[in-house]
Amino acid sequence: MEFSEEQINRYSRHILLPEVGGKGQKKLSKAKVFIVGAGGLGSPVALYLAAAGVGTLGLIDSDVVDLSNLQRQVLHHTPDVNRPKVTSAKEKILALNPDVKVETYEDRLTSRNALDLISQYDVVIDGVDNFPAKFLINDACFFGKKPLVHGGILKFDGRVFTIIPEQSACYRCIFKEPPPPGKVPSCQEAGIIGVVAGIIGTIQATEALKLILSIGQPLTNRIMDFNALTTKFREIQTKRNPNCHLCGPQPTITKLIDYEQEACELQPSAGVSVS
């Protein structure tokens, strides 16, 4: 595939970089990135990867846009309230760069669809807002052998961590399992300063571009924590955990787990007494 004059102009600032060049730009145009969650993290990731000329972006999200999302989810605008996030996202991406092929899935990522969806992409981005999904993505990327760029945000803090299955530490190497339900507040409960989603999402997008271009050093075996109040990054060195239940030599996790369902089942429902 040859670039048109317009495309050469569009991507000229990339092509000027020796680390990218025309060859790298072609790699980007052939790359497929799967973004799980079209919200706070998914917004900057999708916008920057689209602007960068990544050929295919897959977006999965089952939610509709809520007014309270607009403080940080920059893919969505005021007229998008109550519209499916993936529809709103697709429009913005195509308006920014019609070269991009956008695949949308108005659905939740579950143990049933995760492996099939992930298998269709080169890099996966975690932009979800709950632990069951974060563990599901980590496990699915391990089983599917796809690089994953993990992201997490809460209040004024954010975290990025790149995982290359079987080569670098996975999320479970550090965090064995989700915290007990209700123990860790969500952004909905505790709040989130909108810009942190932008900072963390932009780093996630950077990691994805580096992986596609095979340049620089990926954020593997080190976790990057950011605090907006101090404007400090903390890099935590880590390594593969020989006791990891997923990627260690004696795995006990051999299939995908839907934690949410388990948690729901454990919760006492109305009319049922729990002693």
């Binding site: 919200g39 706070g40 932009g127 807002d129 997490g152 809460l154 064995k176 123990k183 935590i236």
Partner: protein
């Protein structure tokens, strides 16, 4: 005893990783702990000793994204 906690030198009276968490008033269920870059399993926190110059990192759960 002086140890490094999250990159900061701190003087603390503690024998085990769990002691450090108790002194810092941190619920062990809410953090992952690394001692000199090795992950300390939660069950081993009460029996894993800390000594002068050790480097401890606390990684709190961060579940947001939307």
């Amino acid at each position: 005893m002086q140890i490094s906690i999250n990159g900061k030198a701190e003087t603390i009276e503690a024998t085990t990783v769990l002691d450090v968490l108790t002194v810092k008033d941190i619920d062990p269920q809410l953090v992952a702990v690394e001692l000199n870059t090795e992950v300390v399993e939660r069950e081993q926190m009460p029996t894993t000793h800390v000594k002068e110059g050790d480097k401890l990192e606390f990684l709190f759960f961060m579940g947001g994204g939307e």
